[in-house]
């Protein structure tokens, strides 16, 4: 359940942005979460509600944009799209793959007041 720690980190990033950019409330948060970022979106939503309660983002809408995954195929020597972690390479059917895209969790933007 490291999603809780991720939410605390998110809250702290929003608080810093509030200081730097002069706002006092966040009404919407858009995140981009990669398919291979190791984040369970439902756990993230739960954590977000708990962690932001009473904060500048209390009641804010959480929008999660899920990003597609890609992987490096050692057999094709190429980056290929990958639907899930244990799927074979869509080009050669090989299984020697290492995710190289959709591994990030990013804050895209905030709607603030």
């Amino acid at each position: 359940m490291h999603e809780m720690a991720v939410c605390e980190s998110l809250l702290s990033a929003m608080e810093e942005a509030a200081k730097a950019q002069n706002f006092s409330r966040v009404t919407r948060v858009r995140l981009a979460i990669g398919r291979f970022a190791g984040i369970e979106v439902e756990a993230l939503r739960f954590g977000f509600d708990v962690v932001t309660r009473g904060s500048l983002a209390d009641g804010a809408e959480l929008v999660v944009l899920e990003e597609e995954g890609t992987a490096w195929c050692f057999d094709c020597s190429d980056t290929v799209p990958l639907a899930h972690r244990l799927a074979p390479c869509p080009k050669c059917g090989g299984e020697r793959l290492l995710p190289n895209g959709g591994t990030e969790m990013k804050i895209k933007d905030l709607e603030v007041m």
Binding site: E8, S9, K19, F23, R53, L98, I107, E111, V112
Partner: protein, 339 residues
């Protein structure tokens, strides 16, 4: 993240490197181990309500008056003139004049952790230390491997250990018993170590120059994978008794590993472990990791792991030396050019 400096977080506590001073009084270890024990109960008692209610004011007051806070680099001072209530097109100060606007962020949610990890890395580079982040599920044998490894390296390489567990000082005590300095981080409710906790632990740990720092993460096959600690190499352990398909079920922890250690190999015949399938599954998730089979108790032993460790240390020290030689050359060239 910790109660050492009062910075916001989940109530982690960190011991001293040499453990409690009252070594005879085992039952009293916990309250005497460190001065932050009541910090833990403080943060539990108040929880999020406390953090939120006090917000930035609390932080500022703390940093402004804290006499024992030596570690400014971990807590950059807030920008001067932080809250300019007159600025911006949509300042929400006058009721009725509020309007929403968009603020682009475009940074990693874990940017702060990554920043602390970068600082740890700089510090470890400067000290010439090989830092290994040891990850596994609970009971894969991390502490036993460490104890046996430290015995084998005793007198040859300077070592230090950071132990991560939710509760108890037990693991650090096991490490100290073989004569190696160890700092225990208790994460409280936390399911992983983060770079900020490790940064504070480094403050309490005499870093051995040219030595090896082992960071034993919280036993957990999921969460620690996402948090860079500033380590040089990641080592994931899996014992033969855990089942061959663990790498497929919990890929993240294997995916980032530089080395996967298969532990408790002496038990393999007793648990019907299919070693070939286990290795194939590790390769499936991480085609580039080194894989070594070890046993802290049986004949297979730790020789290959220790050889890997010594090779990694040699590469690390050579890399650091080359980088510094290049810097020195650049400085000499600059000095020559200025004449």
């Amino acid at each position: 993240m910790c109660t050492v400096c009062g910075c916001s977080g989940d109530g982690a506590t960190i011991s001293e490197a040499h453990g409690p001073s009252h070594s005879h009084a085992h039952g009293h270890d916990h309250p005497h181990t460190h001065t932050h024990a009541d910090g833990t109960s403080h943060s539990h008692a108040h929880g999020h309500g406390h953090d939120h209610a006090h917000g930035h004011d609390h932080d500022h007051a703390h940093h402004g008056h804290d006499p024992h806070h030596h570690d400014d680099h971990h807590h950059p001072a807030p920008d001067a003139g932080t809250l300019d209530y007159g600025a911006g097109p949509a300042r929400a100060h006058a009721p009725g004049l509020t309007q929403a606007r968009m603020v682009e962020i475009e940074t990693s949610i874990l940017a702060k952790n990554d920043d602390y990890a970068g600082r740890n890395r700089t510090r470890l580079d400067a000290a010439g230390v090989l830092a290994l982040n040891l990850l596994s599920g609970p009971g894969a044998g991390k502490t036993t491997l460490l104890v046996e490894t430290l015995k084998a390296l005793s007198g040859r390489l300077p070592c230090a250990v950071i132990e991560g567990d939710q509760q108890t000082d037990n693991d650090a005590a096991r490490i100290r018993a073989v004569g190696t300095p160890a700092v225990q981080i208790n994460t409280g409710k936390g399911c992983h170590l983060d770079a900020h906790m490790v940064g504070h632990a480094l403050e309490k740990l005499p870093l051995p120059p040219g030595g090896v720092l082992f960071i034993e993460n919280v036993g957990n096959l999921v969460c620690p994978a996402a948090f860079d600690l500033g380590e040089t190499k990641r080592v994931t352990l899996i014992s033969v008794a855990e089942g061959e398909d663990k790498p497929l079920k919990y890929p993240d922890i294997f995916e980032g590993a530089d080395l996967v250690l298969i532990t408790k190999a002496d038990l393999a015949p007793h648990v019907d472990a299919d070693m070939a399938t286990l290795e194939a599954n590790i390769r499936r998730i991480n085609p580039t990791a080194d894989i070594l089979t070890t046993s802290s108790r049986g004949e297979i032993g730790l020789a290959r792991w220790i050889a890997w460790l010594e090779a990694a240390r040699a590469v690390r020290l050579n890399d650091l030396a080359s980088a510094r030689e290049a810097e020195a050359s650049a400085l000499r060239a600059a000095a020559g050019g200025a004449r």
